[in-house]
Symmetry: C2
Subunit: 342 residues, 2 copies
């Protein structure tokens, strides 16, 4: 293994005939650098293939050139899509992406917030995907000096991109109601200490509002906690089938849970829409195949959009405009797991 020679800022300085300091400023597009110098530096840097050492830059107080993505999990369809979309944006902007998956463990989250200072040493910004944060955690992050943006979070003091979860759930539920169903159950993302899904409560609200619009009330027995996974949906539906009276329609607050519900039904000789109408949210690629009615949301778009917002903040740290909140559209897609209730 040959000891690789590293091109340093010193080399660029010598070649361009300027001082290290001027080179440093030129490279970072700081003011007070003449065009001539700028050009000379750019030229020399290109010629030498110079790349700043992020470690040295960081140590000296500059930026790290990396951004952390924090997500509840990296395996669920939604997060895998969003992560990859964001990673692309970051990569194209010259940032490394540090992936931190909470894996449903609050211990991981605790560790991160316990060492926020450490994190802020290693990354310039954080992209949060649907992370359920306490008020104090929000405050900590906002005060950390890190640039922050998020997907699917509400009332946070930084840029956010998401869908209107309440509306999406309302759309799904209203579809069911419009079809004449009035005996509905909901598979709702579980909210526990260990594993909470941030969007779940809004989606539950949308469900409730739709019922209210039809002068129906939410029966607590028909709100089933469910992990936002295939297996979670399956367990929840099994529970519903085993222990409660079967409703005529079920709203699962994500497609993967709906898949699980469909599985559970089949295990009991039931099918949709024959015995129960089923609808989800997401428009997962398998949904089309399974004929699952759902409310589609743009997933990669959300990740990319939020990532761009974050990169903008980082690159224009001088323009401190207000945090913005963007809602992307959702759309009901009627397929074959929902039908009119006679």
């Amino acid at each position: 293994m040959v000891k690789a020679y590293r091109v340093t800022i010193q080399d660029v300085a010598v070649l361009s005939g300027l001082s290290i300091c001027t080179v440093s400023r030129a490279l970072r597009n700081l003011p007070n650098v003449s065009e001539k110098a700028q050009a000379k530096v750019a030229d020399a840097a290109a010629k030498l293939g110079y790349k700043a050492s992020s470690a040295a830059a960081r140590l000296a107080g500059g930026s790290t050139g990396s951004i952390a993505i924090i997500a509840p999990t990296a395996t669920a369809w939604f997060f895998a899509q969003a992560v990859e979309a964001a990673e692309e944006v970051f990569g194209d902007s010259g940032f490394d992406t540090v992936l931190i998956s909470l894996r449903g463990k609050s211990s991981v989250k605790r560790k991160i917030f316990g060492d926020l200072l450490g994190l802020s040493q290693r990354v310039d910004g954080v992209l949060l995907l649907n992370v359920d944060l306490s008020e104090s955690e929000v405050a900590l992050l906002a005060a950390s000096g890190l640039a922050v943006a998020s997907v699917g979070m509400t009332s946070v003091p930084w840029d956010n991109v998401g869908i209107d979860d309440e509306l999406a759930a309302w759309q799904a539920t209203s579809h069911l109601l419009g079809l004449g169903h009035w005996d509905l159950a909901v598979l709702s993302g579980r909210e526990t200490q260990e594993n909470s899904v941030l969007t779940a409560s809004d989606r539950l609200k949308g469900f409730s509002r739709a019922l209210k619009d039809h002068h129906l009330t939410v029966h607590p027995d028909l709100v089933i906690n469910s992990d936002s996974t295939i297996d979670g949906g399956r367990k929840a539906m099994n529970e519903l089938i085993a222990h409660r009276s079967l409703p005529t329609a079920v709203f699962a607050d994500c497609d993967e849970a709906a898949f699980g519900a469909l599985m559970a039904m089949r295990e009991h000789g039931l099918s949709a829409p024959k015995n129960v109408s089923v609808i989800g949210i997401d428009d997962h690629p398998m949904s089309w195949f399974l004929g699952l009615s759902t409310v589609a949301q743009p997933v990669a778009d959300q990740g990319a959009f939020a990532a761009n917002l974050l990169v903008d903040r980082l690159q224009n740290a001088d323009a401190p405009n207000e945090p913005s909140n963007h809602f992307l559209d959702t759309k009901l897609i009627e397929r074959k797991t929902t039908r009119r209730q006679r």
Copy 2:
């Protein structure tokens, strides 16, 4: 925003009454530190909540505390699982995970290898997931000074974990043949400049060998290139249905492609196993639901195993044993999309 005070090695040195140098050595478990000193340092560090600055460590020639995962994509089921499993191992060992998704673009790969020196400044090691590397890229990486490990790669000069792809494909194909099928097509991971799946060629070999074992030959018309995605499988199967004579059985070299094939069949009023028997490889969580026969492989295990190997190398850089190659078991799971051919 309050300027956060950083606990430095200096603070630990003062509190423990030792020199910075001794503290540094103690913290990294280097030899020539008395037990007494070791204890004092550990104590002081814990009391202060000291964490070394990775930037400073890196700059001074130490390690960065991060590891890159390079994968063809982060969204496919296999990779999302493996990435998360590896990320967990890295996180538990105190490493940050830098995610680099090639997104099927050779340009990204080129960029990485064009700046391998840059990468090696930012991470201590690299975990490659099924990345198709040229010989020169392998050599470059091996000479980079980075610790390397991989999943699903063969004949590489570093630790590797995988399944026996040829065997898995042989198992799947033999199942079909054992059922009396002799007119088989294969949906094989596409090998193009832009987007190649490393395991595909081995799986194709296994397919061929199984045929050969039954004194059958591979008809080129029945080897269909297919992206390893749902959509890829769907397109490939559509092609097969539209332009060639329908075989009695199809082997898709991953479950997602098999899902796509099943979709395409349904679009044409066909179903498995009635018209065509279908088998995949993976045992994706949806496979059970769809009744897809498949050859199961442990996915998270592969990611975690390789990650552990890499971490071991990094932590015991002094014990340079030979690169190892580990094969994990695969297992045929017979479900409902395959049946005896009359």
